[in-house]
Symmetry: C2
Subunit: 635 residues, 2 copies
């Protein structure tokens, strides 16, 4: 452990261990053996026991059925009285002495020992029937205990109760059963910058979001979550809160405060109050995870970034909570998919990458979601989790990989994979498609990125707005040039207005492309390959303005909204983007003109049900009215 001087004289603990995740978890669970043995057992009613785990085997008290019962509608008879029956010599039976009517489920009473189906008797009236086939003893009778026999084990111990188990235990005449208590999990968000008032967000603050996600996951795992309000980064406050939660709960999760930053007290706290089992796991994201024991209870420090937080909660906190409840570890569903692009990984960690899956043609394509930016939305949009093992350098395009599903396969199979330029309308179209069980997954990589995705067979459609400087025409020539071999066609989309987005009231009086090069103006750009960047460069070129003379030309964003946000926050004075983005962010907009936002679609997908549904939305009255409300669009 090393420290160094700084103004506030806090020590930094920089070196973390780099233990394999399996090793870390199994070491920790071993150390937690006494806690696991301490999980209390309680008696509850089986009817309220869904999801609970049996602490003892459950044996049937009574047999089901507890009587010999008719298995068919018909008559119950004494078999020996029917032995002479045949087509040639029918036997006549009299109600009361030779037979009684029974329906399925009815008790077979003495002296009857056989059932003849209603279809096999002839009703002669006057309470007489005729039969032409003999009945063997016990035919069409459900014997006592056919379903469950008294004393039979219905459920073993350590079994998580499902709906059908409830019926089975009741069939065996049992109501009270013994189960492990529900595990209580204390959830403690920390950090001065974290707030749980969601009506207003002062600058520099972040909403507390992880703790509510954790709470929902704990409920899914059958536990009870106690979430407290965010605790400030003060040692004593943290200490009080931690001891308090450890008192009332079986497990405590401390969120953030787990890295090696100056205010990261969690490891220190655990060291003071109990035992620091491990600090640092060889996973990415999630490395600075802390495993400790305080007052005999597991205390886990989970990193603050949403991507790390979610992963560590599922992969590290999960096994602990499940083990304390004596639940089995479930294997997540895995699928095989083809990696759509090269993914480089460090040898030092096991890396977890959220991927979007798309059934494009007959291949399941895994496309990695941003590793850095947009982490929260990556969690929402991901269909699966891909692992690059430690000591692996990653995957090459086209490699087959295993992906753990985090979305339902039926959703994935009904998803239109759209890769290309970003526009607000893509989300709106997706939302409408959702009504009929379809989805639209839209990745924003710019127009040229979309063209390349179609070329690689990763996408069903690519939204593009690519200006051909020679012809002044949009999109058509690009498809011919890059996608001729793929036999892609152009589906006409919308016309949309591009322009300068500037602060409300246009305080810097920006009017023309020449203004971008002014000394007092800072610009925010779009990434290379995006249609808007091509448009910007085309305009700069025509006016012979060089990028290096524009302040902020190299600061690029991947969406219209991100550019608008930069302008809105005042870190840039101007950016190029669409009217709808400016409107949503409350910015002023100086029009440059209309462009064509269309879709490149391989011919082979054009007549699929999914694409037809997509085009139907484009042509719908509802969609036209949405465009009108947004403003800045024409059809």
């Amino acid at each position: 452990m090393i420290g160094y001087r700084r103004s506030d004289r806090m020590e930094r603990k920089i070196y973390l261990s780099n233990t394999d995740i399996e090793e870390a978890v199994s070491l920790y669970l071993e150390r937690l053996e006494p806690c696991i043995r301490n999980t209390a057992i309680e008696k509850i009613d089986i009817r309220e026991a869904k999801g609970r785990v049996t602490a003892k085997p459950i044996f049937a008290r009574t047999s089901s059925p507890n009587h010999n019962a008719a298995a068919m509608d018909g008559i119950m008879v004494i078999a020996s009285k029917t032995y002479s029956a045949s087509e040639a010599n029918p036997v006549i039976l009299n109600k009361g002495s030779d037979f009684e009517y029974v329906n399925t489920g009815h008790v077979i009473t003495e002296p009857y020992d056989s059932v003849i189906m209603i279809e096999d008797i002839v009703d002669l009236g006057s309470d007489q029937v005729k039969i032409m086939v003999q009945a063997s003893p016990w035919q069409h009778i459900r014997p006592i205990g056919e379903d469950i026999v008294a004393g039979e084990m219905i459920l073993p111990e350590n079994h998580q109760i499902r709906p059908m188990d409830i019926g089975a235990v009741l069939s065996g005449g049992r109501t009270e059963i013994e189960v492990y208590e529900k595990i209580k999990v204390g959830i403690m968000p920390t950090g001065n910058e974290i707030t749980d008032r969601y009506d207003d967000l002062p600058k520099g603050k972040l909403f507390d979001t992880n703790s509510w996600t954790f709470r929902a996951i704990v409920e899914d795992w059958g536990g009870i979550a106690e979430r407290i309000s965010p605790v400030e980064d003060e040692y004593d406050k943290l200490k009080t809160a931690l001891l308090d939660l450890a008192q009332r709960n079986h497990v405590v999760v401390v969120n953030a405060g787990s890295s090696a930053g100056s205010k990261d007290f969690t490891a220190k706290l655990i060291e003071e109050l109990g035992e620091l089992v491990l600090h640092g796991i060889a996973i990415k994201p999630g490395k600075p995870t802390i495993l400790g024991i305080v007052k005999g209870k597991p205390v886990i420090g989970v990193p603050g970034y949403p991507g790390s937080a979610f992963l560590v909660f599922e992969e590290v906190v999960g096994p602990v909570i499940k083990k304390l409840q004596h639940m089995r570890m479930q294997l997540a569903q895995e699928v095989k998919a083809t990696v759509s692009r090269r993914m480089v990984s460090t040898l030092k960690y096991r890396e977890y990458i959220r991927v979007k899956l798309g059934k494009v043609g007959d291949k399941l394509i895994a496309t990695p979601l941003n590793r850095g930016a947009g982490v929260t939305m990556a969690l929402v949009k991901a269909d699966g989790l891909m692992v690059i093992p430690r000591n692996s350098e990653g995957y090459e395009t086209g490699d087959e990989v295993r992906v753990t599903l985090t979305n339902d396969m039926s959703v994935i199979e009904n998803t239109i994979v759209s890769i290309g330029s970003h526009d607000l309308i893509m989300d709106l179209i997706g939302s409408i498609l959702g009504r009929n069980g379809r989805s639209l997954s839209s990745a924003h990589v710019g127009s040229m990125g979309g063209i390349m995705a179609i070329k690689r067979g990763e996408a069903h459609i690519a939204p593009i707005h690519l200006l051909d400087e020679n012809t002044g025409e949009y999109n058509k020539t690009y498809i011919e040039k890059y996608l001729g071999q793929e036999r892609a066609v152009l589906v006409k989309g919308v016309r949309r207005e591009q322009g300068f987005m500037v602060a409300k009231g246009n305080p810097k009086n920006i009017r023309t492309i020449e203004d971008l090069a002014r000394e007092d103006i800072s610009f925010v750009n779009r990434q290379k390959g995006s249609g808007t960047r091509i448009l910007t460069d085309y305009l700069l070129n025509r006016h012979q303005i060089e990028g290096k003379n524009i302040s902020g030309y190299d600061r690029d964003m991947t969406t219209h909204m991100a550019v608008a946000a930069a302008v809105e926050s005042g870190t840039a004075d101007v950016g190029v983007g669409v009217y709808s983005a400016a409107k949503v962010m409350g910015l002023d907009f100086i029009s440059i003109g209309y462009e064509d936002y269309d879709f490149a679609v391989p011919e082979k997908y054009l007549n699929t049900e999914m694409l037809r549904a997509f085009i139907e939305v484009l042509n719908s009255e509802e969609f036209k009215s949405i465009l009108k409300d947004l403003g800045g669009y024409g059809l």
Copy 2:
């Protein structure tokens, strides 16, 4: 519709339709369109919204982060002041004018526009640092809106909310969201024979079990179940209850009363009160399902047998409840498996068969569970559901089939598949194995059945107790004869006492094998191929008694417990079985002698972790003490 006279003059409706299940469900959902449109929308807090379905898209209100934030621990600087820095020409920066310390997440304030990592600075003391690399603008800074941009669509409509969605919506500064209301499902068990008092079961009654299973399933689907006590089979009572439930709920499920039996009023009731959409679906089990509409609400008649009830609830009621809540239909997870035996099916129906899955060697083997008997336990023990399509005659041994999983694959992969003779100890061993995440699946097909299962590669172990009449030895010669080629070995199990099970006090004074042939004695036998049957036949042979002279010789049961239950209920006077079964059922026991209950195991499995764990349990002190408590066993 045909009727016929009987004593109580009730009519029977015998002919049902035989509609394909897909056709039936889609026809019904079409007719329910108005109900689906009527599902109300309510505003709730996202923090309480897990599992709910969005009725509108959810857009971010604020950006996250709402400020430019440090992405690393270090110092924030003005990039332009660092441009001259190099190894040769370090730049000295002064705190306050040139830099400030920041931790990850902290706000970047003006005039700073770049972050240098703590690792890349040299602390000179006196609030000065030295840098040797230039910083580019906006490096190591998370820009405003990097995660979520105000106005961005976070969730589309018709999206079922998962834990990570909760965090994302909060990140966007939203708490209140609009979701579809929870669907209320009225559950109405019917039948004079059904009781919901579980402390006592009068003869001829059955516990109401289905309704509680239904209730748990409805909760799993996010609905609210209102279950009422069983309603007697009286037209007016049923009518009142049905109208009452339809008043308060979105859907009503009437259990039983759906077949063509004399007391089956459901279809008639629906016809009187509303519209009978369909009666009869081409599935097995589940044919007499009823689909109706009463007071504009779906009313579904579900058959009474647990196997049919569960299947129809999942396959028919499920789509209705999910559609009303605007949920997507999820595809269940499917696996490919090899059918272990021939399964014949009728061409008329689509047949659903519950199967046990076992990973034996590298094959996943699907073994059908009883189609008739033991339905409730089949639901509990099943790992999957196999479908034989309509117009198919079934499958041949070795065919590859698709099985929908109803159990977790991790459980299946850790399951020892045991097929053979039945003994109570198998369940107890399984329960102990469960503590370490293992399972034992034990199918009872008798000793010879077990030998054949090993031969076909369906099982890891076969419990057997086979007496060689020539040598008087148990098991060894059978393994040599039948499993020589499979290189199976004998794992010694327990010695157990076989004998006559008779009613308490032995009222008929049964003492010897000769007593079985007495005229006043009714016997209950075990199935052919079971070790107990072989023992019985061996004893009869030795005393030159023929089976045909024993009343009940042809009535056979597949387990010791079933034989004991028959004796206990008085439908038989005597059966042969093990001491522990007699003891559990409170019977008297007349010993015949001890036999060897051992395990046939293919050599290749002997050293697997699973088998080692199994043998460990056999040798454990805990197991020995259980045997002592049960009585009738030696080791």
